[in-house]
Amino acid sequence: MATNLPASAHAQGGIGTAPVPHTEHDEHLHEHDEHHDQHWMWKYVFSQDHKMIARQFLITGMFWAVIGGVLSSLFRLQLGWPEATMDWLQPLLGKWIEGGKLNPEFYLALVTMHGTIMVFFVLTAGLSGTFSNFLIPLQVGARDMASGFMNMLSYWFFFLSSVIMFVSLFLETGPAAAGWTIYPPLSALPQAIQGSGMGMTMWLVSMVFFIVSQLLGGVNYVTTVINLRTRGLSMSKLPLTIWAFFLTAILGILSFPVLLSAALLLVFDRSFGTSFFLSDIYIAGQALHNQGGSPVLFQHLFWFLGHPEVYIVIMPAMGMVSEVLATNARKPIFGYRAMIGSLIGISLLSFVVWAHHMFVTGMNPFLGSVFMFLTLIIAVPSGVKVFNWLATLWRGNIRFTAAMLFAIGFVSLFISGGLTGIILGNATLDIQMHNTYFVVAHFHLVMGSSAFFGLFAGVYHWFPKMFGRMMDEKLGYIHFWLTFIGVYLVFMPMHYVGIAGFPRRYYSWTGFDAFSQFADLNKFISAAAILAFFAQFIFIFNFFYSIFRGRRATQNPWNSTTLEWTTPVVPGHGNWPGEIPAVYRWPYDYSKPGSESDFIPQNVPYSQTASSNLPYEQELED
């Protein structure tokens, strides 16, 4: 390596004279002392402290979850009781439910906003945003994110995007209504559907801000994990949570820009007369000038994001579940390396399978078979994860905390939902299953339920660190069982409806002979869905009650090994009052033979655990 730079530059670490991380971050220490007289505005609103930002993401995410849930209840009412007159909703929905009959276009708007909100605002921002922010600095032993300022911006861009999306719900012409996948031409032409007017404009603008927020966040997460790990914390000693957040952030950095491209091109088609996605269109009595574009192009670009997106949603949950399972089974996670390997495998594969959402869009059949091949391979690393989780439970000593219950529920739901992915990934079978309720059932189990369970597991598990108090366990149990039974009751029967060929995004199916036989089942699903939704209020109650009145937490309530539990019960700005602990061992030394306690935190040197050290650990030190 012969660079032509003066030697002095090299001496200070390659090109540029980079500050050594610790000198800089120790300055946070001083801030720590001073933060008492900070203005509340900087402490609670424009905070640059990753823990406060995490809480902001969480609360905003919960707000969105309630909205998303309400929307789903509304359209489930329509699906369950298509003939009923629902005057009593008039005060809420106004002109959209004139005469007690839901407007079909508004139905589509509800579905679209439900999908958008749940995928992006609840799971991507709420799950990934909350826990990446909260756990990365705490678990890698950093005082804060690499750039607290950009981190703050990330939240506020998300907030801005939320506001825009929320306001769009109240537009005169209704919010976007072209499905969460906003396929043009439907999304490009206000003539085609009302929601493609102002509603879609706001959707796109909101999404652009959302993407900016994701990029600001993602770049920060990745950099923090690379540069700010504490002494001794090599990549092969990272908790699986951090690996998951790290890879998730990379997925986001690489895939969201492609959605940005698609969105910008769509904006041009909508507003400036270009033809990227439009061609040969005659609508509303008029032939449009657009020629030569391709709607399929949009789908490719969308799913190049859209598919990694579903893993962006599930991978943080996988990481947290791994952590929760190991902690509460009091066992090391089984196959730590394989767990990392499978996460990496899933991440890489997730970029090369996107067109399995497009088998019947007229895509070139040869490409279809390649995508089928690549898609079905994902079952292998996913299977490795499932088996490793099972092996982690095997001969464990399981404590059923609420978090643990949700983690087990996660695994169950992931299996159920993931397996139907095998049917959908098979191009031949997808001919029949595409866009039916079978797909809806698939992704609600794996995303709407499983990823949500990961989120709940995370909240129950790290609540003590976030708020210094414990959530009520009994309510947690009730919440878990109701939700667990609830989601299975809702989404299992959806498969039956789907196998029969019932299409999704249908306002009503009564016009079709073949589909109307499921009236009873649909009522059942709707009833179960509404009950499952109401069960969530137990959680919300528990959450807010516990913030103020919950039992006070101890420093390490779950006897866990990772670094966040070495901070004070409520860590201040800068996380550790003194020096940041160094790390000596991997995060899963649970029930190690020969050790007195059944867990050895990562910051305990081997010299203090002579009785339990394993031969290879000795070699490591030599």
Partner: protein
């Protein structure tokens, strides 16, 4: 971690020390030998590469969707039925009206951009030597080249929009002069759409780059970086600037050559 599942604890006396390991990737370190700011710039550029990658891929798909002109270049004519041959479209030069100078102007633009990259590296290099005067000088040059590129692009656009006197007879029987986002005289409407969009997006990047450089110049002049002890900011903006140059290399190939 090469675990064996042997579970006997060691009984030998332990030679462990209390110092954490200190390898490149063992934490407390910058494994890439790059500060977090520089890494962030790299990751941002990576994501930006995907944005441009998506645009260029879209270009590739749409272009392959359209017919190609099968005859030899001298028989070429503009038609919505096939994608135009670039050198027939981009053959003007400021001040030399009506003369067929294929790709001459874009050659100039490319040179300008390469020059600006060179002056940018020179600024970075001067930064390493803490040579404030040199940094200022080279930044100014870079800004100048950036501005020149932008004005060239403005001319290129107006030329493209204006079209030539002949125009082309369109499918609906009208005669089209020049180009806009809905139609153009050079062929399929998407040729112009993609041209405007992609060079426009690139131009926007150049513009933001120039703004950053101006800010950087002011900061240098004020001695901000000198006080800080390093010119890393110049370096980070340099990365961005070269990236924009890099994108142009691809735009150049795919819009003007291929």
């Amino acid at each position: 971690m090469a675990h064996s599942t042997t579970l006997e604890p060691t009984t030998a006396a332990t030679p462990y020390t209390d110092a954490p390991r200190t390898g490149t990737w063992d934490g407390g370190n910058e494994p890439f030998k790059a500060s977090y700011g520089k890494l962030m710039m790299w990751f941002f550029l990576l994501s930006d590469a995907f944005t441009f990658g998506a645009f260029l891929t879209a270009y590739g798909m749409i272009r392959h969707k359209h017919g190609v002109f099968t005859g030899t270049a001298d028989k070429f004519f503009f038609s919505t039925a096939h994608w135009p041959i670039p050198e027939k479209v981009f053959n003007g030069f400021p001040g030399l009206h009506g003369i067929d100078l294929p790709l001459a102007f874009v050659a100039l633009m490319t040179m300008i951009l390469i020059f600006s990259s060179v002056t940018m590296v020179l600024a970075v290099e001067a930064g390493h030597r803490m040579d404030k005067a040199d940094v200022q000088k080279w930044l100014l040059w870079t800004i100048l080249f950036g501005a020149m590129f932008l004005s060239s692009q403005a001319w290129e656009w107006s030329h493209f929009i204006g079209g030539d006197e002949k125009g082309t007879l369109m499918a609906d029987g009208t005669r089209m002069f020049g180009a806009n986002l809905a139609a153009n005289q050079y062929g399929p409407p998407l040729f112009a759409d993609l041209f405007f969009f992609i060079t426009g997006f690139h131009g926007t990047h150049v513009f933001s780059g120039v703004c950053l450089l101006v800010w950087c110049f002011i900061a240098t002049t004020n001695g901000t970086f000198e006080k800080r002890g390093h010119y890393e900011m110049v370096e980070k903006i340099g990365l961005y600037w070269h990236f924009v140059d890099l994108v142009w290399v691809f735009v150049f190939t795919f819009f003007y050559l291929v």
